[in-house]
Subunit: 383 residues, 2 copies
């Protein structure tokens, strides 16, 4: 279903030959209208890939007709030639779809610092255009995979309108955003300002709180396109909730497919003085390599949780901190709590609660354990 | 030589039975004078172990006669009982040495969240006091090891005076300080204000720039004790340089013994607008798990260096960044530079230069690669 679950969209996913192994590597998503409203959120990394710089520009008009996405190369740190390549990609899509290049967003993922094989990518766009279909969402989702072991899609249907989407991402997952390419589509009849507001609200508490390995990508892109084809204009709250639900679902799928992970860790920070404090503490815990190794070893090492909390600026008193792992309060008042042998860590899901005892705010960060498989996968990625 | 290289010091290292495997686990260092000037630097983690809280207090007077150090337990996150245990440790040392408890610093290292076996530690202090010797520095250095594979000592001798020291630390190495217990001694005849100034200046550019795994300990302690036994009062600059040399040497030894590491990585940031910028960028690179995995795989993946730089607030333009790995400028002007196949990564030492092209300041951060052995060691540490 993916990006073609909503009415007014076509998509395709093909093998253009960008990846040497012949796997699908090029996706095309087209909004057939009647509306072409769009919004986007991009990486906060200051080293931005060429397609990010391009797509940020074209989105300023609040309209998109098509998105070209490729795996097999990030087109990041590729200089003026890389930007020219992104421009040529948009021009080619514009030509075959008979639209303007300014209506085409581009997203790329793969190795940094390598130019894309344009002699394969440009003919691939022609091929993808020929295969555009209202049932092409699944193939598009497959074509944007890199080290993903599964493709990720999600759909929410409401009274006469739908929000659907696809995502890729498995490594380099960290906030701002969790490294990913995401395209969401809806047939709701809404303007770009409404899309933008709903998308920013959704990503702030979903993708931005997925932190697999603390590494922030140069290419993160989340796009939301609205065709208006349902003829329904839902209220903002209902629409924002649907967008959030799809983002949340896709974010969870990203974490479950994180490179080398054997545990999915939900870090819930409670009783913080502010939401910012809760997020800062959650991230500090989620990024602590020693804790991530301990969780991998099924060791409820709460000392490493406290050590991570201690590095933050959040409001708390060390002797009032409490920590639960999988429901057992192993740390009470900053010291030894319930028997750690009671903690059952056999399952993939791990739930850490950090109680700051400093207020009433809360935040949840999602992360993984750190494993030898993660090391193996990422020490061999470009070799 | 270690802490007894300088005149006016005795030390001992014994097995008190704190470690279940019977290895040495208790060290005692005593300043026999005539001076007892001292200074200390402690972890900036807000969750501080009981011995850190104690030693910070006693150091306010600028004098120390003895330091008790134990491995086999960090006495961190142990509540009021943990603090009582540290107090009792200082009292016992004071009793056997016939001094005041306020002249005794305590340092502990090992697992967080476990109370120390005081029935073993207190008799251990009596035993250590009986074995105090002017040749005991080496044994003391051995007794403070945890996962260290080797003990670390360093000595610098100048015109009639000496600075020597010992360090432990292998995991949880990160700034503020790199996790460690360090005791430095000197027979220079200097007051505590001078010691403090020289020690802070030295740690700022040595231990504080060692960042093995981004994790900050609850127990970091660096102490400098001066006996004045040489009768020489060196000038500040000469003394500070000697202290810095010993700290630098010990810091390098810590990095070379970091848990599971197969590569020692020197991250040199040049042409930064400010020293703070250089340090921030160096840390960001040093903490990037993906880059650390790539280095482990002998992959000169400069894209991950740029991606790490991009997450900082430092002054730079993305298209002016340059990166060299082992002397090869693989990234020029933010894009593809010299042939990455020219980079020779066979050796343990790896040198990354990040040129921000934004000023004239520089900083060097030391780190390691991320390996499957690190994961194994830290997923099994407390089990």
């Amino acid at each position: 279903m993916s990006v073609t679950a909503a009415k007014g969209f076509q998509a395709a996913g093909i093998a253009a030959g960008i990846k040497e192994n012949g796997n699908p590597d090029l996706a095309l998503v087209v909004n057939t209208g009647p509306r072409r409203a769009a919004a986007g959120v991009f990486t906060s990394n200051r080293v931005k890939a060429a397609p990010v710089l391009w797509s940020e520009q074209v989105l300023k008009a609040g309209e998109l007709t098509a998105v070209v996405l490729n795996s097999g190369g990030a087109n990041a740190c590729t200089g003026p030639k890389g930007f020219q390549d992104t421009h040529a990609t948009a021009e080619k899509a514009a030509e075959v779809l008979d639209i303007g290049a300014g209506e085409v967003a581009v997203a790329s993922t793969g190795l940094i610092g390598v130019l894309l094989p344009m002699d394969k990518l440009l003919p691939g766009i022609e091929k993808a255009a020929r295969e555009l279909s209202e049932h092409g969402g699944e193939k598009a989702a497959i074509a944007i995979k890199t080290t993903d072991t599964v493709h990720k899609t999600s759909v929410v249907t409401r009274d006469g309108w739908t929000v659907g989407g696809m995502a890729k991402g498995a490594g380099m997952l960290a906030p701002g955003l969790a490294t990913m390419l995401v395209v969401l589509t809806t047939d709701a009849d809404l303007d770009s300002a409404t899309l933008d507001k709903a998308l920013r609200a959704a990503t702030r508490t979903t993708f931005d709180r997925v932190d697999s390995d603390g590494c922030m990508s140069t290419n993160d892109t989340v796009l939301l396109l609205a065709s208006g084809a349902s003829g329904v204009s839902p209220g903002y709250d209902a629409f924002a909730a649907a967008v959030r639900a799809v983002c949340d679902d896709l974010g969870q799928q990203l974490i479950r497919d994180a490179e080398g992970a054997s545990k999915d860790i939900r870090v819930e920070v409670i009783n913080a003085a502010t939401e910012d404090d809760a997020v800062e503490v959650g991230r500090s815990i989620a990024r602590n390599n020693l804790l991530k190794c301990a969780i991998h070893g099924e060791d409820p090492n709460w000392g490493r949780v406290l050590s991570a909390i201690g590095t933050t600026r959040a409001a708390f008193e060390p002797d009032r901190l409490n920590v639960a792992i999988n429901g057992v309060w192993v740390c009470k008042n900053g010291s030894v709590g319930e028997d750690r042998d009671k903690v059952d860590m056999r399952y993939r899901e791990v739930h850490i609660v950090a109680d700051l005892a400093a207020g009433a705010e809360t935040a949840t960060i999602w992360t993984n354990d750190l494993t030898a498989d993660y090391v193996h996968e990422n020490s061999a990625y470009s070799s």
